[in-house]
């Protein structure tokens, strides 16, 4: 690796590869350094990618991108002890009209790496960057074991686990309160069973958010032949169940065990998710000679109903490339922050800044699901003494919390979402 590059990108995830892709358009000689043996071999996500940045910047991406299924059904479900409460939204659009698709991140990144390599960017795998080299507070290269590689710019795209940034004092270690652990299992079920059991056409997918008192938050995404199921485990809240057991806890729920019957688990994965939203955004995701993109910069958005990571990573990569291009040599790429603001990324994060507080409130996983299940159970249980809604509500909630507190909490939640 003796060749001199204009830009070194540390990390071949969605943000790093995108930055390299857009830098190539501006004529920069770029190398991506990825520690995995292949692009994507270290990456984990839930299962969905939004199409808008791909439509804008990747011509003909639909022809060869590893799309599993178009998300036609969105569901929000509360899992009670044995029962389930569903809120579903079914989208009927023309083919190519859907906003998002389900995917496997490892496969998607292999595809993205090919698109980047088509622009003559080098994607080097099996390379772990140990240090970013600074001289007089200017980043000028990276250290890989005993090797050094120098460049005009270092793009830090190291993902949610910000080891390098912390090592160099660019970021502090995140609080345990502000992370969740995404814990996922991929289960092979076969196309026909998936279509039948989830009421889907061949190309149609389901994205389902789960809330349950036993495991916290979770998700289901249907792929062509597989189903991805996962739990968003919060170490400080969920500690009555150990993280290693939550997937089983989810799978034994009567509703899920029926859906997944005869399924064969094929992969178990986990990764931290930064959950603090706006307050976790780096104040200054750049400095002389470097720029920080994607999850590493705090660019991930959980709206409470949808999680957006890959699309923000692509956008931040594009803006980082533009910022590098617009910054005269020797100066800080401060225009990056301006671009993030103009593109409303920061405004969006700010708008949803209260969501993280709600998501870390234990009661939304414990009390509320219980109340809702009990109320519905009472409403739909028919015997000689039917109850009015008001009676059911009082019976479910009464004694455990004051109605005023409940209403207050619900109002606070609704106002923040």
């Amino acid at each position: 690796m003796s060749e001199r590059y204009d830009v070194i990108v540390v990390g071949g995830g969605p943000a790093g590869l995108s930055t390299a892709y857009f830098l190539a358009d501006h004529g920069y000689n770029t190398i991506v350094l990825e520690r995995g043996s292949e692009p994507g071999s270290k990456n984990v996500f839930g299962g969905r990618i939004y199409t808008y940045p791909l439509d804008k910047y990747f011509p003909d991406w639909r022809k060869d991108a590893p799309i599993e299924r178009w998300v036609r059904r969105e569901a929000l479900s509360i899992l009670c002890e044995d029962n389930i409460v569903n809120l579903e939204y079914e989208i009927d659009r023309k083919p190519n009209g859907y906003d998002s698709f389900t995917a496997f991140l490892s496969r998607f990144l292999k595809w993205l790496a090919l698109k980047v390599e088509e622009k003559n960017v080098v994607v080097a795998t099996n390379v772990r960057v140990d240090e970013i080299l600074f001289r007089d507070n200017i980043a000028y290269g990276v250290r890989i074991g005993d090797d050094k590689l120098e460049a005009e710019y270092i793009v830090i795209a190291e993902g949610a686990n910000t080891l390098l940034s912390e090592r160099h004092g660019l970021r502090r270690k995140i609080s345990p309160r502000d992370i969740a652990v995404g814990i996922k299992e991929v289960i092979r079920l076969g196309r026909e069973k998936i279509n039948e059991r989830f009421c889907l056409g061949d190309e149609e997918g389901l994205a389902q958010f789960l809330i349950g008192s036993r495991f916290g938050g979770g998700f289901i995404y249907t792929m062509k032949e597989y189903v991805s199921i996962g739990v968003i485990y919060r170490p400080l809240l969920n500690n009555q169940i150990e993280a290693k057991d939550v997937i089983e806890e989810l799978k034994i729920h009567p509703h899920l065990s029926k859906l997944l019957r005869d399924g064969v688990p094929v992969e178990y994965s986990a990764h931290i998710v930064r959950e603090a939203g706006y307050s976790d955004l780096m104040h200054k995701p750049y400095g002389r000679g470097y720029i920080v993109v994607g999850d590493a910069a705090g660019l991930i958005l959980n709206t409470g109903f949808t999680v957006r990571g890959v699309d923000l990573a692509i956008e931040s990569g594009r803006l980082a490339a533009e910022a590098i291009h617009k910054t005269p040599p020797g100066e800080e790429p401060a225009v990056y922050m301006k671009l993030l603001r103009e593109k409303e990324i920061i405004k969006t994060l700010k708008k949803f800044r209260k969501v993280s507080k709600i998501l870390s409130n234990e009661r939304i996983y414990t009390k509320y699901p219980e109340y809702i299940c009990q109320i519905l159970d009472k409403i739909y249980t028919v015997d000689e003494l039917p109850e009015t809604l008001n009676e059911s509500f009082k019976k479910a909630v009464g004694g455990k919390t004051s109605i005023i507190r409940l209403i207050f909490e619900l109002l606070t939640m609704v106002r923040s979402l």
């Binding site: 496997f104 150990e242 688990p265 992969e267």
Partner: protein, 93 residues
Amino acid sequence: MKKMKVEERLTLTKFEVYGEPHIILRREKCKGCDFKICISSCPAGLFTLDETGEIKFTYEGCLECGTCRIVCPENAIEWNYPLGGFGVQYMFG
């Protein structure tokens, strides 16, 4: 579906194990810790208590999720990524 133990579930995932651990536990720092949240929050269940009540840790099934380093209140976990090409190999992700 049959209930699966975490040890069994980890065999689904592909690993390229390196000869030296990428995570080092400073056990002397664990002595004063009553919290031991590393045990409950590791999705691979790699932290366990031995007969003497001390924490044991194995790195071979590490999913590289990053949780233990962040939740440890004693900063007892020296966390690094495995050398390039080694460690967990996600096929789906």
